[in-house]
Amino acid sequence: MYCRKCYTKLDPTDDFPRCPRCDRGFDPTDRNSYLARPFPGKWRIVWHIFLTTLVSFVIAFIVANFQLAQASGH
């Protein structure tokens, strides 16, 4: 049982089940509130790839516009 946010190992026997590292709460009876293994879920990986690729595209287009400004003498 691992934290969904920081992947820290969780103790389900705690009276107030919270992650000791990031303080995120979880419910030992709710499988959606924790991870079964210390690895990001499929959708989190997809979302991360999408966001990082978006950042790369934005910077690449800024570079393309910079080249345009250089070429046009601005």
């Binding site: 990082t52 950042v55 790369s56 595209f57 910077i59 690449a60 393309a64 080249q67 345009l68």
Partner: protein, 139 residues
């Protein structure tokens, strides 16, 4: 601190700084004076592309919280940006010649790849060099 990951310095990374120094030399001196022939005129900036922009892109991700750690760029991150730069500069911008000046050249992709491989090898060696004393100290 035995589990501290290697510390990548993003914009202060030597590979990025060297590329930032070579780029204007090529842009404002070598190319106008036709020094270095076809390589400096057509491909040197493309070779510098990933060593220069991967640290910048990863720093932007770091500031946005998408890359909380300071590890050296991995193969995946270099490959991801190789694909993005190839799509932007070899597929998208050549289709809009009135808007962008970039002309598609398949050899540019090889130049991006060469720059990415050189930088990747440098970052891999740097990561090992920095993490080695930490491991030795923890023994």
């Amino acid at each position: 601190m035995a589990d501290s990951p290697p510390s990548f310095r993003y914009l202060a990374d030597p590979c990025c700084i060297i590329s930032l120094v070579i780029y204007p030399i090529n842009r404002f001196y070598l190319k106008p004076h036709h020094i270095g022939g076809w390589f400096t005129h057509g491909y040197l900036n493309d070779v510098l592309c990933l060593p220069m922009f991967v640290p910048m892109i990863l720093y932007a991700q770091h500031l946005l919280g998408l890359r909380p750690h300071r590890r050296f760029p991995g193969v995946w991150e270099i490959f991801q940006n190789l694909v993005v730069f190839t799509i932007v500069f070899q597929v998208i911008t050549p289709r809009f010649p009135k808007t962008f000046t970039s002309a598609g050249d398949p050899w540019d992709i090889l130049a991006y790849l060469a720059g990415g491989m050189i930088a990747g090898i440098y970052w891999s060696v740097s990561a090992r060099r920095i993490s080695a004393p930490v491991v030795a100290a923890s023994d």
